[in-house]
Amino acid sequence: MAYLNGRRIITNVMTAYLNESEVLAKMSNPNLLINSDFEIKQRGSQTFTTSGKYTADRWVFGINGSGNTGSYDPETKVLTCGTKDQDGYYSYLCQFIENPQKYAGKTLTFSCNALSQEYAWLIQVWYNEPNESVVSLGATAYTTVDTEKTLTFTIPSTITANARLRFLIQTRGTLKVNWAKLEIGDLATTYNPPLIAEELVKCQRYFQVIQTQLARNIFTVNALFYIYLPVTMRINPTATFGSGSGIQLITGGSIDTSYSLNIVTPLKDNCITIRATKDGATYTDLALNLQGNTTLDAEIY
């Protein structure tokens, strides 16, 4: 075994026993998917059953097939399809990629590790430009016994920034999904689990939960409150104010939820501005009180 400055030199050891492609596979490319092991769950750990909604961060849960049902449980990472083992009926998890034009003409490899608890599963890549039909850039075969699938495909050279490029994991039954990886090149390299601290920051570019109380002493009909976020978001987020959010006298009293709350200025760096407005209001010394289920959503749809 060779060492340099106290560190083991693995390359020589590897090349002694492996051919070139095996060496490359042992090295690990960066993963282009975020929250690849589904550990970040800012939306909660409850079971999701509504198609088209985000579940674990960056992952959309979906159901296909007329009258079909399904679910995704972020706690167990189990994806379930209600109608079992029928053509055209499946549940899926998918992730949209930001700035897909960066990969125009490139060959990518999508891989996934999962355990089928019943019936078959596959991985697939969907692509479409605005107002155009969705096309599949590639799909693996539906199988039951495989625990790892790999798909290599090429991104169209004409892809635009507004294109929707998504990576799907589909099941006709019940599937425990462990991880997924997307990388540049035609080889699936070793999967390394991401650090949770780094992954949360990446996820907050797309979605954040906020809870805060900010006070102002000047207040009549409307007032601006500035909120600094831990991460700059992708675009101006859509705010959904948590139940019970509103304006409260600094000296106490109940929260007045009849104030209109809006994000009013374009996002600048990591600061958003929320305006509270109420016709005829004459109070001063008020606080903005955002309850814990207030969310900022800048996800890709």
Partner: protein, 75 residues
């Protein structure tokens, strides 16, 4: 495998001023909402902050837009 377009909805007050705007992605109860447009992309999905050029409310607390004859216009 075709995607459904994202719909944009508004709410208006008695003076037809637009008091709220959002996409169907974020609306659970559609009562009181008026559909005004549909399409793909962030402009439609995140209509609350991206569909209109200016905020719904101006610096004095007044509304910036009205909805009349099925059109959104700046006041």
């Amino acid at each position: 495998m075709d995607d459904q377009k994202i719909k944009v909805y508004i709410k208006v007050n008695d003076q037809n001023e637009i008091i709220d705007i959002n996409s169907d992605i974020f609306i659970n109860d559609f009562s009181g909402w008026i559909e005004v447009d549909e399409g793909f992309g962030d402009k439609y999905a995140h209509a609350q902050g991206l569909y209109l050029d200016e905020p719904l409310i101006d610096d004095n607390g007044g509304y910036n837009y009205v909805f009349e004859r099925n059109e959104i216009t700046k006041k």
